[in-house]
């Protein structure tokens, strides 16, 4: 990568933007310019001013404060779902690579089946039957990506099992657990990290879409997808209601995507 260290390097630019958003999001849980839930009847649907840079909503709530207060939710869905797929998918994938018997086969058939469902349907199905909440959205989005992680972890582990250093460890008489922890895991993480980086973008997208459909955090939460859904009836009077959370969501997604692509360029030379 000749771009290493330059500001045009996607990993650097994305990483910096993502850090700024993450800091604002964490701060936004406790501190926002105004109380994000405070109604101000006389300030309903006020256009952006210096005092309210993103305007106010139909209850007179400050949109900037709401956007800040809701930022951590999108991050939580994206990274939480990634973590769910990682924690469930990688062990299952490694198990499938090690176990050549019925267990490994069963895991792979289950992954094949889960992958044959369109991604949004699995999420819809889980969220439809039980009352929606943030935790369930994270779980539903995470489960969608578990089979992909299973396949990846298995493929990586199978490749590594053929390598000389693993054969050597075997010849030394190391046990399966030792081979797994000392030989496979340290060498398996680059492709898995790359996949995670790219998955976070899709996880945030899917989470925001589910939330937009009313299957995520519920009002008065200011999750960005939900805010955009609520803004729909005021599109011609108060476009800032949709634009503020929407543009922030886009900025977040572009930053996450850039970071993921940058990671891939750094860790996976074949995709330079």
């Amino acid at each position: 990568m000749t771009a290493r260290g330059r500001i045009t390097d996607p990993l650097r630019a994305g990483g910096i933007t993502l850090t700024v958003i993450a800091v604002l999001a964490v701060l936004g849980i406790w501190r926002t310019p105004y109380d994000p839930t405070a109604f101000a009847v006389r300030l309903r649907l006020a256009a952006p001013t210096l005092a309210h840079p993103f305007g106010t909503d139909e209850f007179g709530r400050d949109v900037l404060s709401r956007v800040l207060a809701g930022a951590h939710l999108s991050l939580a869905i994206g990274f939480g779902a990634m973590l769910v797929s990682l924690l469930l998918g990688v062990p299952l994938g490694l198990l499938a690579a090690f176990d050549r018997g019925w267990l490994g086969a069963a895991i792979m058939r289950a992954a094949d089946l889960a992958i044959s469902l369109p991604p949004i349907l699995l999420g819809l199905l889980i969220l439809a039957v039980t009352p929606p909440s943030l935790g369930k959205t994270i779980l539903a989005v995470g489960l969608v990506y578990v089979p992909i992680m299973v396949r990846l972890a298995r493929a990586v582990a199978l490749g590594l099992l053929e390598e000389d250093f693993v054969q050597a460890a075997r010849a030394r008489g190391e046990g399966a657990v030792s081979i797994l922890v000392r030989e496979i895991l340290p060498n398996a993480w680059p492709p898995i990290i790359v996949e995670c980086g790219l998955r976070v973008t899709f996880a945030i997208l899917l989470g925001a879409s589910l939330s937009f459909l009313g299957l995520g955090p519920q009002p008065p939460s200011s999750e960005w997808g939900l805010m955009i859904a609520e803004s729909r009836q005021f599109l011609d009077q108060a476009p800032w209601l949709a634009l503020a959370p929407g543009l922030c969501l886009c900025a977040l997604l572009v930053a996450v995507n850039a970071t993921g692509e940058g990671l891939r360029a750094r860790l996976d030379p074949s995709h330079g």
Binding site: A128, A208, P239
Partner: protein, 317 residues
């Protein structure tokens, strides 16, 4: 080839059967009583009992599943509780309208994506390639529903050129019909177009770097022939896989886009079923969508086999 198709068809049947079990299990076993879900938590016990009896919810699960499966195999998808009509015709009607939306969008995504990808790969580093690379990078990251909001803001609320929502049947005239499709189709295509063109560019670049292309050029073959006879067919293989994956994303997009534009298709019907706790309708709609997705994957696999002789002759399955 025939054997391959039969094997894949059998696996589609198996997948649909297994997903029917999965859908049924999620709807019936997850916490939350179906009758309460339908009637609300303040329902009287007698109303719940009546409904449970009407729906056969007192029977053992395997019997309920068997009854459902038996109905589905005879073409009876069960009832819609909220609309008090058979779900089958409702779904079929909505599916037809969704199919119009999805097939136009998919044609744009497949045709446009491959054309843009090939153009970018053969003009690597030029202005058009760089502009496209940047646009793809940004477009992939913008959610469908936000494109939809922007589209409505600009062309319906702002310029008043297009209707913001709704659907006009063909009988209302071609112009009304088409004008209701422009925004949904555009929104549905835009993100996937970026995705497909980006990956078909990568596939094409890889093919152009290969030794068979070098060989073809070395023996003096015209560049056009090298491109369309050697590079493009090989670059199509990964692109077909991408298109199959994107078909799944397209289904997700259809659900979102139909909701935003109040377009009466299958996606909106599913969201309606969720909002109104119409679980039998939800179950039936999900099964239909999964079947379509499995068939689309089958089509992709067959397309792959047609282009790839190694699979066609059964060397690798």
């Amino acid at each position: 080839m025939g054997g391959y198709v039969v094997r894949r068809l059998l696996s589609v049947a198996l997948v649909v059967f297994a997903t029917s079990l999965l859908i049924f299990a999620i709807v019936h076993i997850l916490p939350g009583n179906v009758a309460y879900a339908i009637l609300g938590e303040y329902a009287t016990p007698s109303a719940v009992a009546t409904l449970q009896q009407r729906l056969g919810l007192d029977d053992p699960l395997w019997l309920q599943y068997w009854r459902w499966l038996h109905g589905v195999l005879r073409g009876d998808l069960g009832p819609s509780l909220v609309m008090d009509r058979p779900a089958g015709p409702l779904i079929l009607e909505a599916l037809g309208r969704s199919a119009i939306l999805a097939s136009i969008a998919f044609a744009i995504v497949a045709g446009g994506g491959i054309a843009l990808g090939v153009h970018a790969a053969t003009h690597q580093g030029r202005i058009s390639d760089r502009v496209m690379t940047l646009a793809q990078f940004v477009f992939i990251a913008v959610p469908d529903f936000f494109w939809a909001i922007l589209g409505v803001m600009a062309f319906a609320a702002g310029l008043d050129w297009l209707p913001a929502t709704g659907y006009a049947p063909w009988g209302d005239g071609a112009l009304a019909w088409a004008s209701h499709l422009v925004l949904p189709v555009t929104v549905l295509s835009i993100g996937l177009l970026a995705h497909v063109s980006r990956l078909s560019r990568a596939a094409m670049l890889e093919a152009l770097r290969s030794r068979y292309v070098l060989m073809a050029r070395a023996k003096g073959m015209s560049e056009r022939r090298v491109l369309w006879r050697h590079a493009a067919p090989n670059a199509m293989l990964p692109t077909i896989t991408i298109l199959a994956i994107d078909f799944g994303l397209l289904i997700g997009g259809v659900v979102v886009v139909e909701t935003v534009f109040a377009y009466p298709g299958l996606g909106r019907l599913l969201v309606f079923a969720i909002e109104h706790r119409d679980l039998p309708l939800l179950q039936a709609g999900m099964l239909v969508l999964t079947t379509i997705y499995a068939l689309a994957n089958l089509a992709a696999d067959i397309g792959y086999a047609v282009l790839n002789p190694r699979i066609r002759y059964g060397a690798a399955a």
